[in-house]
Symmetry: C2
Subunit: 153 residues, 2 copies
Amino acid sequence: MKELKINSEGINHSAINLGSLDELKDYSYMHPKRKQEVKGKVFIGEILKSSSAEISFTVFPPHTEMPFFHQHKNNEEIYVVIKGSGQFQIDDSLFDISEGSVIRVSPEGKRTYRNNSDSPLTFLCIQNKMGSLDQFNVEDGCLAECENLWEKE
Amino acid sequence: MKELKINSEGINHSAINLGSLDELKDYSYMHPKRKQEVKGKVFIGEILKSSSAEISFTVFPPHTEMPFFHQHKNNEEIYVVIKGSGQFQIDDSLFDISEGSVIRVSPEGKRTYRNNSDSPLTFLCIQNKMGSLDQFNVEDGCLAECENLWEKE
């Protein structure tokens, strides 16, 4: 089982490197309630000290499916498919997913998915509190003065 | 210039497909203040109707760099490197990034990055409100009853 390691940290940041996204299958996650090891899944919100998002990476083997539907209490989820293909169901909508698919699900959405292909399905899932974003991009960002370090290398 | 299209939508979800992540260079973004077209960048928060996250995908060509540092007012950013390699600087920390790197930056962090390699650098950037997440995973998720539609196909 692969371990997560911080590779840069400062007062305003934390950074890790998961390694090749084809090797995510070497991570695993111990489900805290079911006490079951889930292979090919890694959560990174805690190690990154994120205060706004939980993010997981998952590799779903060929011809496997989530054995249940789930909902959330407060959090919106956004799934981003990095590689492979499969199907996603939310409530009474069933649709195909593949590399580049991005799916937003409200807390109430009953969701499940499967990999019905012959190749691994790799995706990330971002979990944030519904309704929490007030402003973004040019409203939230601003230029900053800082000495560029790579110019000194 | 490629257009974004919804490919499934319901009361609790919105889904798009950006297509192959190697083809992200065909998207572009019109900077609302500088009135400049930024190639290889696409924001998806609005089309997904996300209320908690802004997400952008970027392909940064070989040997290019951000010409400035930036900070945020309220939002944390998380960068996820999907392909390629480069360097990231936050405040006085400069470090290498590559496929599988994930970097969390607090609003105050002065950040910039470059692609100092011979291949494209592809990453996504997730923007959420600092301090907004109260609970996640098994605390926030719960099982749901729903009829499985792929079993009827």
